[in-house]
């Protein structure tokens, strides 16, 4: 049975309440940190653990924390990014709904480590039920003396608030989130300066994902070194995977990093295989922004090695034959799904969510949506395919924030790996309106590397 560091008590009745959470070892990490450790010692444990940002970027958390500037006379802030909006991702919703005190405990320990006296949990506005749950849990924690002035007699004060978003995927980008927290439109800022130097109200700020903050609790309880023993290589610890699409058992699974992808998809302990007796056609492994892969390349790397659920293994092959772990939003497509239609759907998403600041993104996402709409509805031209690749290349790297890249990668990768399906939509436009392309050779033995590079 795989180790669970976050969800070990998820099925305990009442674990969402302070009393039951406390009875099961909750808030021990707060006691340990505030009574026996210095803030710097907490940062060191997180560094040792090898924890990487669980929102999608995978940046080493301890390193991010160590960048926090500490000028005299200026407040520092910790802001939790609970704006979960990456298509395919729903683990933060799950965690906040069922075990909110894990996040609150993580926020207290992390705020202490960073020297923040006021911290915010920025929750997307649509998650109003979760906002209510968190507000209630914060009140419980405060009543019990774990928030407010002089927590546990340690001399440390902390106020924790929940801040709602208003429905904007872009506010999951840390600088846009900060803009939103300041009461403005969610337009990302140019970096540098990084939030660690100038963030909320121009003060040094750290923004971390819900799961990242939650992971601080087992790291402090068991020690960073213990945490680093779980996982594989530079992918230490456990990760919450959100599995969706055409699976028998979609849902949130906590896995030890390094689990083989094939086992994750097919074993009864996890997703239980493809639903309705269908075959696997494609997978988006880490949220809609990461490259889509055909079945043969998600199960094995181009070199024939079994693909593992880890940062390194999913990135093996770069964007030519690989993808990314990203947010862990694992979307499985069966043989009846249309890759062109799905690519259009994602293109519509990014166009809708573009904040509009950067011309390549604002205009480029619109063109990709329009051209893909034509392709899906029988009005495509052969030149459209290379046009889409060209537009995606002109967005990539030319924007203030990664939303542009995130919009470009699904289109570029769909064409790279499924070009024949796109061409079929053009050469057989009438048939394409009535039936799907099917599985073709996407589940067959691996393509040769030369073929893969050609596309």
């Amino acid at each position: 049975m795989a180790r669970k560091l976050l969800l070990n008590n998820i099925n305990v009745s009442g674990i969402h309440t302070f009393d039951v959470y406390r009875q099961h070892g909750g808030y021990r990490a707060v006691e340990k940190a505030l009574k026996t450790m210095t803030p710097d010692a907490v940062v060191e444990e997180v560094k040792t653990s090898g924890l990487r940002g669980r929102g999608g970027a995978g940046f080493p958390t301890g390193m991010k924390w160590s960048f926090l500037a500490k000028p005299e006379g200026r407040e520092r802030y910790l802001v939790c990014n609970a704006d979960e909006s990456e298509p395919g991702t729903f683990k933060d919703r799950y965690l906040m709904t069922h075990i909110p005190h894990l996040l609150i405990e993580g926020m207290i320990v992390s705020s202490f480590a960073l020297g923040a006296k006021t911290s915010y949990i920025y929750v997307r506005g649509e998650m109003m039920p979760q906002i209510r749950i968190l507000e209630r849990a914060i009140a419980e924690a405060k009543n019990a003396g774990f928030l407010g002035k002089n927590i546990l007699g340690s001399g440390y004060d902390l106020e924790l608030y929940v801040q709602p978003g208003g429905g904007a995927y872009i506010c999951g980008e840390e600088t846009a989130l900060i803009e939103s927290l300041e009461g403005k439109r969610g337009n990302p800022r140019i970096k540098p300066p990084f939030p660690a130097i100038s963030g909320v109200w121009a003060c040094p700020t750290v923004v971390n994902n819900v799961e990242t903050i939650a992971a601080v609790v087992p790291i402090i309880n068991d020690g960073g070194e213990e945490y680093s023993k779980v996982g594989i290589g530079r992918s230490t610890g456990t990760k919450l995977i959100s599995a969706s699409g055409n699976l028998n058992k979609p849902g949130v699974y906590e896995i030890e990093l390094g689990l083989p992808v094939e086992e994750f998809i097919y074993s009864e302990e996890y997703c239980g295989g493809i639903a309705n007796g269908k075959r696997l056609k494609a997978v988006v492994a880490g949220g809609s922004s990461v490259p889509i892969l055909p079945a043969n390349l998600i199960l094995k790397t181009i070199n024939g090695q079994p693909r593992l659920m880890s940062y390194e293994s999913l990135s093996d092959g770069g964007f030519v034959t690989g993808s990314m772990l990203g947010s862990g939003g694992f979307i499985a497509f069966d043989e009846d799904q249309c890759i062109v239609r799905n690519t259009w759907n994602f293109a519509r998403f990014y166009h809708h969510e573009s904040c509009g600041q950067c011309s390549p993104c604002r205009e480029g996402t619109g063109w990709m949506e329009k051209v893909l709409h034509n392709l899906e509805n029988g009005h495509g031209k052969m030149s459209d395919i290379d046009l889409l690749v060209d537009v995606s290349k002109k967005i990539e790297g030319n924007t203030i924030c990664p939303l542009g890249d995130a919009a470009a990668w699904p289109v570029a990768s769909a064409i790279r790996h499924f070009r024949d399906e796109f061409e079929w939509h053009i050469t057989n436009s009438k048939t394409a309106m009535e039936q799907n392309y099917g599985l073709a050779n996407y589940a067959d033995p691996l393509p040769k590397l030369e073929e893969a590079i050609q596309n």
């Binding site: 298509p87 395919g88 997307r124 649509e126 998650m127 801040q163 927290l181 009461g183 979307i331 799905n342």
Partner: protein, 171 residues
Amino acid sequence: MLSVTEQKEIEFSADLISKFEEIVTRYPEGKQKSALLPILHLVQAEYGWISPEAMDKIAAFLQIQAIEVYEVATFYTMFFMRPQGKFVLEVCRTGPCCLVGAEKIMHHIEKTLGVKEGEVTADGNFSWRGVECLAACGMAPVLQIGPEYTFYEHLTEESVDKLIENLKNKI
């Protein structure tokens, strides 16, 4: 149907104002603009939409320019700039939900309510629209209904029919 240019005189209740004031205490002195999004949510919960009148009153309360409220209210997709149905059904329309039938659910809602996306039923009780990923892909298809954003998962045509019936009984 209420036209956007029909400005009704509105006065925020004392209860609402005291809620605004509590929110302002969450931020440092002089940073009350951060209360704007929470306040917009409270106003929409109260009136069902964000009118120009309401935006002007919010600006006055926060001591900021009206444009600073307009530009935020129009940026964030949750805020309605026109009156809606009493119940607004918001269905997720993004990729993973579509893999398991979200589009069929939206067609069914359109047929059952008899209005297109964004339109309000003649009795003023219902409107619907597709929204982007609601972060519940494993429980798809899903929909939410404001202002508390009550969540409905694993939707089928039957469960949607039942939901609409239940809502009709609340009117």
